[in-house]
């Protein structure tokens, strides 16, 4: 028995996963969420670029009796979990063009540093001067044993350009500390399951290795076999450890298996739908395994240029977003592009809604809030007033199934409300000048 215990501990260490995650994986009594009476709370920020077509986005009515317009239609199935927040304004001024401040101040609520990135017509800027709300919450959740997880937060992306600049970063670990999203699903898989996967791979080649040793032994003098035999013994011990480990894993009923990804998917524009699906599936899996409580999911970047050829749209999104409303063709395409983004949000929501909360009440969506947002309110005006904030799910405990309109409030106040709802209220978030009126009222 002692040996088994030791071995198990050793391979858990080798796997590099937290005790809580391992317990879940191996279907052992969980220690992880025993201490949180309110149950698990998750928060996911989903970003899509270039503003929306407000007329086909925002519900016309407020309150619970509202109609989902064309772009939001895909959320119909989870309508009771939807909360639309009109009137959120990113009022941060200072250096940087609208797109830069649009994404760089979106989750940070604070100005950008002066820098050398010259965009559009404004003054040049660098990185954000403060931490973003996802990283702020991650720090606090990780500091508390009851809410600690293996990663704390995950930063996922889809086709984020391979360059670090103000337009490609939404999440900040602190001033001047942008966090790069991982947009390669295989890289994300490696981060999440690399070690587990490598253990399985190792287990599968040990037979080959043992056979190899037998052959090589013949090339070694009698006096020297001892070293080789000691080595073979190591391989056998490892084989036993891995055998046990694989057995326990396959017997695990926690529903959390290592997902399998389609092979050889290149990072290319036309693979955006597939990559989005792969990333979202991994995000769901990570939540089942309680790898993290906070995530960002960044589809392309601020000023993103996906060409949605799968919708029959050959132009890049950003290019189209500059067209005047009078360009009916472009207008229609922008509605369809944004509807496609919404379908992705809906996919993630529905997957979470379909899975019972592991070790908790209700569905996973009941304990998760998806926040779909954008760097702009509207593409061709570059306004950062009325930026999209569509919330889906019950993670924050806000009252859902309603459309709200706050008229015109700094979005810092919403960031404060999110902190409070996650159990970590702050006197201000980002630039305090925009926080004077405190958290928003009427959300719960």
């Amino acid at each position: 028995m002692m040996t088994n215990q030791t071995n198990r501990r050793r391979f858990l260490k080798d796997l590099g996963i937290s005790a809580a995650a391992a317990n879940l994986m191996l279907n052992l009594p969980s220690l992880g969420h025993a201490g949180s009476p309110a149950g698990k709370q998750r928060l996911v920020f989903i970003f899509s670029p270039n503003g929306v077509i407000p007329k086909h986005f925002w519900p016309e009515q407020t309150g619970s009796d509202f109609e989902l317009k064309r772009i939001l239609k895909p959320l119909e199935d989870v309508r009771s979990q939807v909360l639309t927040l009109h009137g959120m304004c990113n009022q941060i001024k200072g250096d940087g063009d609208g797109h830069m401040r649009g994404i760089g101040c979106l989750l940070t609520g604070i100005e950008l540093f002066p820098g050398d990135i010259q965009g559009g017509s404004d003054t040049p800027a660098g990185w954000s001067q403060g931490i973003s709300v996802d990283q702020y919450l991650k720090e606090r959740l990780q500091a508390n044993e009851a809410t600690q997880t293996r990663f704390g937060s995950l930063e996922m992306g889809v086709m984020v350009p391979d360059r670090a600049d103000t337009w490609t970063r939404m999440s900040y670990a602190g001033p001047n500390q942008p966090v790069a999203p991982i947009d390669n699903p295989y890289q994300m898989f490696d981060k999440l399951y690399g070690q587990t996967q490598n253990r399985a791979l190792l287990a599968s080649v040990l037979d080959d290795l043992t056979a190899d040793f037998k052959k090589v032994e013949r090339l070694i003098g009698q006096d020297d076999r001892q070293l080789l035999q000691a080595h073979v013994q190591l391989v056998r011990d490892l084989e036993q450890d891995l055998h046990l480990e694989m057995k326990q894993r396959s017997e695990s009923k926690a529903g959390h298996r290592v997902p399998s990804l389609p092979p050889n998917v290149e990072e290319e524009n036309d693979n955006i739908p597939l990559i989005t699906r792969m990333q979202m599936d991994m995000l769901v899996n990570s939540f089942v395994g309680d790898f993290a409580r906070v995530a960002t999911f960044q589809i392309t970047n601020s000023v993103g240029q996906p060409r949605m050829r799968w919708l029959g749209i050959d132009e890049g999104h950003h290019e189209l977003s500059h067209e005047p409303d009078s360009n009916a063709e472009a207008y229609e395409k922008l509605i369809r592009i944004n509807t496609w983004y919404c379908e992705q949000v809906a996919y993630l929501a529905k997957r979470l809604a379909a899975i019972p909360e592991p070790g908790g009440e209700g569905s996973m969506l009941d304990n998760t809030t998806l926040v779909w947002t954008n760097e702009l309110g509207k593409g061709n005006s570059h306004t950062r007033n009325n930026i999209p904030f569509v919330l889906v799910g019950g993670g924050l405990g806000f009252k859902t199934g309603q459309a709200l309109d706050f008229r015109e409030v700094p979005h810092n106040r919403l960031l404060m409300s999110m902190c409070a709802a996650m159990g970590h209220p702050a006197n201000s978030f980002g630039n305090p000048d925009f926080c004077g009126d405190g958290e928003l009222t009427g959300l719960s």
Binding site: G115, I117, G126, A164, N176, L202, L209, L219, P263
Partner: protein
């Protein structure tokens, strides 16, 4: 004609006198005999036989019948390198414990002769337990080097004459535009403060772009910190083109310092490029400045000096980042003689790390190169993997092998990344890769290529020429092997391995903190210590890689390397030889010194002398032990107890020499200290930081010393000059150097290649004017002998 003392008579005498008193009786008898020359000269055998009898009766109880020691009485094995004479003196003075007068004179000599022959001496030990070439796995260092060369199989190694510095192109405007290039030159280092001025003529200071590229040479294996300080946007690639290392594409706020640490493997040159951009903007531009610095393992942070920069194109390089457990060093050199779960896990991690780079960098390039060839991607991947595995196994794969190591894994795994991972995991954990000596099934030429690479640079053969020659069976004659070894010996990798060898020989890596008493030595700071280490490195390189490569110059050279900082501190003897050398105070750039009569190569180098001193005083004991153990290669027992040195404050009137003499005066100390102090005192003209002095505690320095060689030769010297002249020509020192070199390069004891290997190599070394490079070639050629020739010397040598 000699008259022998008949055995029977000895026995008779012994039986008459019985036990210990026999010693006295014999001494008396021989004393008489010596007077009357006709009597009694024992043969060596007789002497030993007599010694054996005394040993059995008087010594074995404590020391064991074979000198192996007895538990809880005297546990240490009786072995060492004292001559019979030295042993006899020791026995006469100290044994048996408590009553040394019971065994003196000829009795002591008999016991000494017996134990020396039977088990004490190195020859006895080799005779009793002939060492053999033991199987070893790759050491950590060999694993690193082998993987670097496995990568280099596809990318090549730097070649041609490499210029120091970094190549630079200056552009007007903030991007690469050929017709806007205003300057193309080699910058010695990257350390610029342009302010708001134009960096070169014709460039607009408000918007410019500088492209630096070249290589960074790592002299030692270990963790480095690369530090870029830049007030402007820059992106740095390192290790390969497009392998992004530091991304400061966005200049933001006051953030100007960027650090990243990375484990580098010695003897490799890592390509790098920096794109430095002052961007045009609407607001006022900040002053432009940039420095490229590093913090090498165990050294201070400083601008990467020109000698570590290469201004020419160098191929992409792989340095393993996986942490590997340390190897056994119980014999003073690394050996892969044990396996552990930690080690096994590290080989898995290393294989996976390599698989990642193979998939991410090697395979895409290979596929691109082969795009015009017929065949599917999978066919090409198979060819690619065959090439990787054949290089790793140091041999071609048979059809069966291809099936086992490659084909069936490819068949099982549709995902490219996973397929490559799988094949490499099997191959790089295979004993065929991890145990390079398991090569009996290869052709002789392949074995030679394999062993030379292992001996000379801890790695595997990987260039087309060598693999072609080996496959064609061209390394059958000794001259062919020698020719190949001589060709390889100037390789960067051999230089790195040689430096590691010299560090081990001098035991430098065991130096602790060199900090000195700030009151006595106020300006002796870390920056100076780093410069001194660089100076020592440059000196070693200069001697070894000069035309004559003369070992003796390590002790006799009158000139060494200095920097402005060193010159400022050490004064006249450390001034640079040429006037044109830039003399900026505090500069670390190395320049040769003038020849100075106080310089004797290594022996007066301040890095060594400070390392072998206390923080406030010299330590003749450390310096003496260093000489005995490392330079002269003699064995020393550790002291019976730990002693704290006498404080200079308690004996303000004594010189250091007098204080050491006082503390080590007891007989039990003198056994070893007689030898240690005799060598250490010779350095007393050099203080705790290695600066020359003539007074110690206001008294003239007494630097007289003595040494008794392995062959009982008594040497006297006054000061380092005489000591240096002795050491340079000393058999002991040369033998020690050869022995160390052999162990370091081959990682096996020399006697495993024949009992007289060391003597032969030492003789060759002497005959070759102590040429170090030639020695390395000789060692490599010897170690490249296939096993059957070694174990059956009756077979003719490879030269047939």
């Amino acid at each position: 004609m000699n008259v022998f003392l008949p055995n029977t008579w000895t026995s008779l005498l012994r039986s008459v006198t019985g036990g210990l008193p026999a010693c006295l009786a014999l001494v008396a008898l021989l004393g008489i005999g010596a007077g009357a020359t006709a009597v009694a000269v024992e043969t060596d055998e007789q002497l030993r036989e007599r010694g054996q009898a005394i040993y059995k009766s008087s010594c074995a109880d404590c020391h064991g019948t074979e000198g192996q020691g007895e538990e809880s009485i005297y546990e240490e094995r009786l072995e060492g390198d004292d001559s019979v004479g030295q042993l006899a003196d020791l026995i006469a003075d100290t044994m048996p414990e408590g009553s040394p007068e019971e065994c003196e004179g000829e009795d002591a000599r008999a016991v000494a002769a017996y134990i020396h022959y039977a088990f004490y001496s190195e020859a006895a030990r080799i005779r009793n337990r002939p060492p053999r070439v033991a199987l070893a796995r790759l050491t950590g260092n060999q694993l690193r080097q082998s993987l670097s060369d496995l990568y280099a199989r596809f990318r090549g190694l730097p070649s041609g004459k490499l210029r120091p510095g970094v190549s630079a192109q200056y552009f007007d405007g903030d991007r690469w535009k050929k017709d806007k290039r205003k300057a193309e030159r080699v910058d010695p280092v990257i350390d610029f403060d342009f302010g708001r001025e134009s960096p070169v003529e014709g460039v607009d200071p408000k918007a410019f772009y500088i492209h630096w590229e070249g290589g960074i040479r790592a002299d030692a294996t270990g963790r480095y910190e690369i530090v870029v300080n830049s007030s402007c946007s820059f992106v740095m690639d390192f290790g390969a083109q497009d392998r992004e290392f530091i991304d400061n594409h966005v200049q933001s706020g006051d953030k100007t310092e960027f650090r990243r640490s990375i484990h580098l493997t010695a003897g490799r040159i890592y390509p790098f490029a920096i794109e430095f951009i002052q961007r045009k903007r609407k607001t006022e531009i900040p002053p432009a400045r940039i420095t490229l610095s590093w913090k090498p393992p165990g050294q201070e942070e400083r601008v990467i000096p020109a000698r570590n920069l290469v201004a020419d194109w160098v191929p992409a390089t792989f340095a393993l980042q996986t942490v590997l457990p340390p190897d056994d060093r119980s014999y003073g050199y690394e050996r892969g003689i044990a396996v552990s779960p930690e080690w096994d896990a590290s080989t898995t991690a290393a294989a996976l790390e390599f698989a990642q780079i193979a998939y991410g960098e090697l395979w895409p390039t290979y596929r691109r190169e082969q795009r015009k060839q017929p065949g599917s991607d999978r066919d090409k991947m198979r060819d690619f993997l065959i090439r990787v595995v054949e290089t790793a196994f140091r041999a071609p794969l048979s059809d069966d092998d291809r099936q086992i190591y490659i084909d069936r894994h490819l068949d099982q795994e549709p995902d490219d990344a996973e397929a490559i991972k799988r094949v490499l995991l099997v191959a790089l954990k295979s004993p065929r890769f991890l145990y390079p000596q398991a090569d009996r099934d290869r052709s002789r030429s392949l074995q030679v290529a394999n062993r030379l690479a292992l001996t000379l640079f801890d790695s595997l053969p990987n260039d087309d020429w060598i693999l072609g020659e080996a496959l064609a069976g061209r390394f059958k004659t000794e001259s062919a092997v020698r020719g190949y070894a001589a060709k390889l010996v100037n390789d960067e990798r051999v230089k790195a391995k040689t430096r590691e060898f010299l560090y081990g020989w001098l035991n430098i890596s065991h130096f602790g903190d060199l900090a000195k008493d700030p009151e006595q030595f106020p300006d002796f700071d870390n920056a100076l210590v780093s410069d001194l280490k660089d100076s020592l490195d440059a000196f070693l390189d200069e001697i070894v890689w000069s035309e004559s490569s003369d070992f003796r110059q390590l002790f006799l050279a009158k000139s060494t390397f200095t920097s402005q900082r060193i010159a400022d501190y050490y004064g006249e003897a450390w001034q640079p030889s040429s006037e044109d050398a830039s003399g900026a105070s505090g500069s670390s750039e190395l320049i040769a010194t003038v020849e100075d009569p106080s310089h004797f190569g290594l022996l007066t180098h301040p890095y060594l002398l400070s390392g072998l001193a206390y923080h406030d005083a010299t330590s003749p004991i450390h310096r003496g032990v260093f000489m005995i153990r490392y330079v002269l290669g003699r064995t020393l027992r550790p002291p019976a107890d730990a002693f704290a040195p006498l404080s200079p404050d308690l004996h303000p009137d004594l010189t250091t020499r007098q204080r050491v003499e006082l503390q080590t005066s007891p007989v039990s100390c003198q056994i070893c200290h007689e030898r240690i102090n005799g060598l250490g005192f010779a350095f007393e003209n050099y203080d705790a930081v290695g600066a020359y002095r003539t007074l110690d505690h206001e008294k003239p320095v007494d630097a007289r010393g003595t040494y008794t060689s392995r062959t009982d030769e008594q040497v006297e010297f006054n000061g380092v000059e005489e000591l240096a002249r002795f050491v340079a020509g000393s058999d002991d020192a040369q033998r020690a150097f050869v022995a160390r070199a052999f162990q370091h390069f081959v990682k096996q004891p020399p006697a495993a290649y024949g009992a007289d290997t060391l003597e032969q190599l030492t003789k060759q070394f002497k005959d070759n004017q102590c040429n170090i490079r030639q020695l390395i070639v000789d060692i490599a050629v010897l170690a490249a002998q296939p096993d059957d020739l070694r174990t059956n010397p009756s077979l003719t040598a490879v030269s047939q």
